[in-house]
């Protein structure tokens, strides 16, 4: 539990949209199964007074927080509106903001994240699946049935690759404390460094799997700054340079951020790095 627990009230921005409504159902089904509060309010400007799967919808975050105790927000609005949603939630004092939205222009993301930091909010994403603390809370879209409760934290820039990893961990009998998808964009709010720092203060977490990919240096920076036992995996070993591999942030530019150098730097820090996803559970077991 590093960003919320079963007592966290969740706000969904874009509640009346197809995505928002769909995932309100799933987040609340999960909340019911673990005895959590789940989604307590939705926001869609102009649609205040409606209900989505029993959740009251408000015109603004300010109105929603006046009526409910809200600890986290999840954003499903389109790219053009998402930066405003991040700032609106930060301004209203919501401490954890998960931005699922993809394709937000980077300059908008930089501004929204800078503003949120001034307001003291942690932004997870954008372009991310959110997080799940098995048995406690689900903030976002990670398929809950793949996860199981246990001592291993997972941090990843990817969505489905994260699901693959937790699927493998669960099959190997290794549960997860919290799984965080931090997002595939070049600029993201919470980086490996930030999440590892939260895991360091989390008594439930004994080891962490860092799932990175080509582009940037956030993986190495995070691993270098933590004392926690870490297992690494880097996607994109076969990625050609100067080509964007699906994620806006997954690109080897100017000879920087390639998988081989990332793996080398992580191994130099004493971190075992799996060559295949299927190797991750065995490497984790050695650390536990």
């Amino acid at each position: 539990m590093i960003y919320g627990d079963r007592n966290t009230g969740i706000l969904v921005q874009g509640a009346t949209g197809q995505q928002g409504a769909f995932h309100i159902q799933y987040m609340n089904a999960y909340a019911r199964s673990v005895g959590g509060r789940g989604v307590v309010a939705g926001v869609t400007p102009g649609k205040g007074g409606q209900e989505v799967h029993g959740v009251p919808v408000y015109d603004s975050v300010r109105k929603a927080v006046a009526d409910h105790d809200i600890g986290a927000a999840v954003i499903f609005v389109p790219a053009a509106a998402a930066p405003d949603s991040i700032m609106e939630e930060a301004h209203a004092g919501i401490p954890v903001i998960v931005a699922i939205t993809e394709r937000i222009p980077v300059h908008d993301t930089m501004k929204a994240i800078a503003y949120a930091r001034m307001e003291g909010a942690a932004v997870i994403g954008p372009n991310c699946p959110g997080l799940i603390s098995p048995g406690e809370v689900k903030l976002g879209i990670i398929p809950a049935h793949l996860a199981s409760r246990g001592p291993v934290g997972v941090i990843s820039r990817s969505g489905t690759l994260t699901y693959e990893v937790i699927h493998e961990l669960t099959r190997a009998g290794i549960g997860q404390s919290t799984v965080v998808g931090i997002g595939g964009d070049p600029v993201i709010g919470q980086t490996f460094t930030d999440v590892l720092e939260r895991f360091r203060h989390d008594p439930a977490t004994k080891a962490v799997v860092v799932i990175g990919e080509v582009g940037g240096a956030l993986e190495e920076e995070g691993v270098a700054a933590t004392a926690l036992p870490v297992v690494g995996y880097i996607a994109g070993v076969s990625a050609p340079p100067e080509k964007r591999m699906g994620h806006a942030g997954a690109i080897v530019e100017g000879g920087e951020g390639d998988a081989a150098s990332k793996i080398r730097r992580m191994e130099a820090l004493g971190v075992p790095v799996a060559q295949r996803v299927a190797e991750i559970p065995a490497l984790v077991k050695e650390l536990l």
Binding site: F22, A79, R103, I104, P105, V106, H107, M110, K111, I113, A114, Y115, P129, I141, I142, P143, L146, R157, S158, G159, T160, L161, T162, Y163, E164, H167, G184, P186, V187, I188, G189, T191, I211, E213, V214, G215, G216, A217, L218, E221, A235, G236, V237, S238, A239, P240, K243, R244, M245, G246, H247, A250, G254, G255, E256, A259, Q275, R276, V277, A278
Partner: protein
């Protein structure tokens, strides 16, 4: 998307950054009268690749022999890219070359301005060889101007000389959604400061609002894929790959390489892909010459495996399609493909191994 030098310079000029006198000439066009540009000229191939000078893409000329030199340049390929346009510029009387750029810094999540006293060179190399040669200042993305203190940190005693250029480049960076706005070299002359070269990379997620309709960084097939909502990259191998999610698809390519095979492409169908999209994806991958086997690796979260299975069936491509489906409606999906000649696998490793063997 990376703009051409001439496009970047036109933008810089609109923001008040001085650029050399020059004219753009496309292949097949007549060279205009160059007398007004200068007695000594530089002809520069307009290609979206780095290291252009070293690759012979920049040639000196005079107004008298410019047509001949231009012809020579148009016949060239610069690092594999044909020259379709050149920029003919005055040769500046350079006193000194500097380096200036503004980029999106992933680590601080904020813009970073770089300045160096030595320009015209590979700046990463310069930074490695002489620590401290490149000065770096992080600026909040919320500021509309670069504050004076930051200019002093960045420029030392040259605030008066370069401060205005830095602030104008800052406006370009912000207003043009730049991932990188670079001037290398930024030169001083008797006539003042000029951007002798220009590099501007626009955020792909902001092309629409920047009025850019075609992403030239992509091949035609990559553009077609994008219009279907796929992320697609062409590679050199023979195993066609379809996955959902960028990370999982990349990991699939890596695993193909690990088992000794070579992927023909990267294709991420995106979240919540339905029957129709999967059909398009399979056909797109299968339609490329040299693809001998196809591997579909999908982990259904929002994506439903039965939809995927129907899409694969609808596509009806001649190649063998190896399938690994896991997640939502997995059993229904497997039932749809069962007995119809689609080898199915429980894990990624098994599926990749089989595809590599079939493609060998």
């Amino acid at each position: 998307m990376r703009l051409l030098e001439c496009e970047a310079k036109e933008i810089y000029a609109r923001y008040g950054i001085p650029i050399p006198k020059g004219v753009r000439v496309k292949a097949g066009e007549k060279i205009p009268d160059l007398a007004g540009i200068g007695p000594e000229l530089v002809l520069k191939a307009q290609v979206e690749v780095g290291g252009r000078g070293k690759a012979g893409g920049i040639l000196p000329a005079t107004p008298a022999d410019a047509a001949r030199v231009a012809e020579e340049l148009f016949r060239k390929e610069i690092r594999g890219v044909p020259v379709r346009e050149i920029l003919i510029e005055e040769k500046l009387p350079i006193r000194h070359e500097y380096y200036l750029s503004i980029l999106v810094d992933r680590s601080t999540r904020q813009p970073l301005i770089l300045f160096a006293e030595a320009g015209g060179v590979d700046i990463e190399q310069a930074a490695k060889e002489t620590p401290g040669a490149v000065r770096r200042v992080t600026i909040s993305p919320l500021l509309s101007d670069v504050p004076p203190f930051a200019l002093r940190d960045l420029l030392g005693g040259r605030v008066k000389e370069f401060g205005p250029v830095v602030n104008r480049l800052w406006k370009v960076f912000r207003e043009k959604d730049a991932m990188l706005a670079e001037v290398n070299p930024l030169v001083t002359t008797d006539r003042g400061v000029f951007a002798a070269d220009a590099k501007l990379i626009v955020d792909d997620n902001a092309l629409g609002r920047q009025g850019i309709t075609v992403n030239r960084d992509l091949t035609p097939r990559e553009r077609e894929a994008e219009s279907h909502g796929f992320s697609y990259v062409e590679l050199d191998g023979n195993i066609g790959v379809i996955g959902n999610g960028a990370g999982l698809t990349m990991a699939t390519l890596d695993l193909i390489q690990y088992y000794g095979g070579a992927a023909a492409n990267f294709l991420d169908v995106g979240g919540g892909a339905d029957q129709e999209r999967v059909k398009h994806a399979v056909r797109l991958v299968a339609g490329r010459p040299g693809v001998s086997v196809i591997l579909v690796n999908l982990l259904g979260g929002i994506t439903r495996c039965d939809d995927v299975a129907r899409g694969i069936l609808d596509a009806g491509v001649p190649q063998t399609v190896m399938v690994r489906l896991a997640g939502t409606n997995e059993e229904e999906g497997k039932k749809i493909l069962d007995g119809r000649g689609y080898p199915m696998f429980a894990t990624m490793d098994e599926a990749v191994k089989a595809a590599v063997e079939a493609g060998a």
